[in-house]
């Protein structure tokens, strides 16, 4: 226990962090809450110091009834539900394989980690080029690398992201992109978890003639479960906050030319900030509530299934 006469010193040392937190975290949260429940908020009145707004839930009602928001919600949920299981399973598979091989392990680890340190907008642009029908050279010459590869297997070119492409083609591209982008972090965590499992468990399993599949399901997965839970929970949170990937591939307007909107919750909040601060705040709180509930469910399930 710090003696009381030195207490001011403790506060002094804490001051820089507290000041930053107050300005950039606590105040925005408070302000979001306030703005969400103020009706007919206007930034001009706010700046003029006239804060005589009425309190109410009008913003929430408006947001929930607005078709654009519902679309964003569906897009977000769809992307999350598709990408989290796929990326987790793939990451588990790759991590187990990486852990099993000795030569080139370091090199492959580095290669798998590259997407993590690459700008997602830049990757998005590369994906855009890869999935294009019309390449970047001349429209007639190239059809994008993905369609070229598919062509080798006799698949007709698919319109992934260009004008007239279907919603599901767009979603497929997004899922591939998000999964690919999410893999490195998950592989890193799971590989770390795998390497910390005591080798003796595997020796014991060998002595007991355990088939490989059973070793995986009965020993590896349970002992890895804390890491799996962590990866799934952060995956869901990240999934609900998906935004930059869509901008990266489809640009600011977040849709294939003339196609359906692929906007997500975060995108909606960002767009609404322009002149509907109240609705943006309400949407942000709704997103928070969804993430909160899903995370609670995740934690509840993992508590039952996880061995720590």
């Amino acid at each position: 226990m710090v003696e009381s006469k030195h207490k001011w010193k403790a506060w002094l040392y804490l001051a820089p962090a507290i000041a930053l937190l107050l300005v950039f975290t606590v105040w925005p949260i408070f302000n979001t809450l306030r703005m969400a429940f103020w009706e007919d908020y206007s930034i001009m009145k706010d700046l003029g110091g006239r804060l005589d707004f009425k309190f109410g839930i009008k913003n929430f009602v408006k947001v929930i009834n607005y078709q654009g928001f519902k679309d964003c919600l569906v897009n977000t949920l769809l992307l999350t539900v598709l990408t989290v299981p796929i990326s987790t399973l793939l990451a588990l598979l790759i991590a187990v394989c990486l852990n099993a091989i000795k030569p080139l392990q370091r090199l492959l680890q580095t290669i798998f980690f590259l997407p993590y340190v690459t700008n997602s907008i830049a990757i998005g642009m590369v994906f855009e080029a890869m999935f294009n029908i019309v390449g970047y050279k001349t429209p007639e010459e190239s059809i994008g690398i993905i369609n070229t590869v598919l062509g080798v297997f006799g698949v007709d070119p698919i319109n992934w992201i260009n004008a007239g492409s279907s919603y599901w083609a767009n979603i497929a591209v997004l899922v591939i992109y998000i999964v690919w982008n999410a893999l490195p972090f998950k592989i890193l965590i799971l590989l770390g978890g795998l390497q910390s499992i005591n080798k003796q468990y595997y020796d014991a399993a060998k002595i007991d003639s355990t088939p490989r599949v059973r070793v995986f399901t009965k020993i590896t997965v349970p002992l890895l479960s804390p890491m799996l839970a962590y990866v799934v929970i952060t995956g869901f949170i990240g999934g609900f906050k998906e935004y930059s990937s869509i901008v990266g591939i489809f640009g600011d307007d977040m849709q294939a030319v003339g196609g359906e909107s692929l906007n997500t919750m975060v995108g909606y909040i960002y767009d609404a900030l322009g002149n509907q601060e109240g609705r943006a705040s309400a949407a942000a709180l709704i997103l928070f509530a969804i993430i909160f509930v899903v995370t609670m469910i995740n934690l509840y399930v993992s508590k039952k299934k996880t061995h720590y």
Partner: protein, 367 residues
């Protein structure tokens, strides 16, 4: 099932390629372990005893030599197919499974014609648990058990599939002193009851001596001596074995044999007929000293340790290689030990001579 080791050798390649220093962990180990016996592999750390055990289990591949279970050559067989039971030093119980699940695990792996019905498996698991007296703890997780209980679970898990050979790697090293005594008796009892050929590794000579039918003393990958514990203790083949066995340890002196007599510090202390004149190491067991007012061996008395029935006299002697010379004598005989010195005569069969260069035993005729 008897286990035969033929010229078993394990060489670990050097990690540093330039230095090219290979480590010979086990060197040319040949031994036939009779069926149904309890064998202790004994030696200081790094002597290759665990490596030998792991080669028998199949977890490590020998660099040379063969291993037979009965008449079957199992050298090329992987650990999965050898049907041994192994108790790891840290038990390696699956932490996410209950005791019951842990014990059932090997049975659930059985395939083909060995496959068991569910209730047969449960039956066998409970039998194994009863044998090691943990049938009350079946629903607990390993983390909720004491070290001794975990150790029993590990034994039950190894026994439940009725292995041909049971291997134990330092099974008692994680237990406290009292539990260790108790558990080693348990191991002896379980081994007797099941009659499974059992090989266990330990660095604790007392442990090995007390429960083994036979002990194998190893040093730096080379087998020094194999035999019944008492025989090895009474008749060590070299200085290392003599020093390694026995508590308190053997007293070693620098001495010389001249004209059939052993001289320590230029005093003739014992007749050693049939030995050529040579400088020797003389090992004298603590129980080999007889307090005798007219005895030839005179030591400076520095203390008396009372151990109950017996008394340990702590003395010094100029020719001794150990800082003190310990003798164990009758409590009555020790009553006279009050002066500055104490005189002993020696029991010839408790005195061992070793060649000074090779440290091999030099035998003399005991009358």
């Amino acid at each position: 099932m008897k286990v035969v080791l033929q010229n078993l050798t394990k060489i670990f390649p050097s990690r540093n390629k330039k230095a090219n220093e290979e480590v010979v962990a086990v060197n040319d180990f040949t031994f036939e372990i009779p069926d149904g016996k309890l064998i202790g592999l004994l030696g200081p750390s790094g002597c290759g005893k665990s490596t030998t055990l792991y080669m028998i289990s199949g977890l490590q591949k020998p660099s040379g030599g063969r291993i037979f279970f009965g008449d079957d050559d199992v050298t090329e067989l992987s650990a999965e197919n050898r049907g041994v039971g192994l108790v790891f030093q840290n038990y390696a119980l699956y932490p996410h499974m209950t005791v019951k699940q842990n014990i059932l695990f090997p049975l659930q792996n059985l395939k083909g014609e060995d496959k068991l019905e569910k209730d047969v498996m449960l039956d066998r698991a409970y039998q194994a648990a009863k044998l090691v007296q943990i049938d009350e703890l079946m629903e607990r997780k390993p983390s909720e058990l004491s070290g001794g209980q975990q150790q029993r679970v590990a034994i039950a898990r190894a026994l439940v599939k009725m292995p041909k050979v049971l291997l134990l790697d330092e099974p008692l090293s994680n237990l406290d002193a009292r539990l260790r005594l108790q558990t080693r008796e348990e191991i002896r009892r379980i081994q007797k009851e099941t009659g499974i050929t059992t090989i266990f590794v330990t660095h604790d000579q007392e442990e090995a001596m007390s429960i083994s039918d036979m002990i194998v003393v190893m040093k730096l990958g080379v087998v020094q001596q194999i035999g019944a514990p008492q025989d090895v203790y009474d008749d060590p083949t070299n200085l290392f074995v003599a020093k390694f066995l026995g508590t308190p340890p053997i007293n070693v002196f620098e001495g010389e044999v001249k004209a059939g007599k052993l001289y320590l510090d230029d005093v003739a202390v014992l007749d050693v007929p049939g030995v050529e004149d040579q400088p020797v190491y003389a090992g004298i067991r603590p129980e080999g000293f007889i307090p005798d007012a007219f005895g030839p061996m005179i030591c400076n008395l520095s203390g008396v340790d009372v151990m109950g029935r017996d008394v340990s006299l702590v003395t010094t002697h100029p020719a001794s290689l150990n800082p003190v010379v310990r003798s164990i004598v009758d409590a009555d005989a020790a009553k006279n030990a009050t002066g500055l010195t104490v005189s002993y005569s020696l029991k010839p069969h408790k005195v061992f001579l070793f060649n000074k260069e090779t440290e091999a035993r030099v035998y003399f005729e005991v009358k």
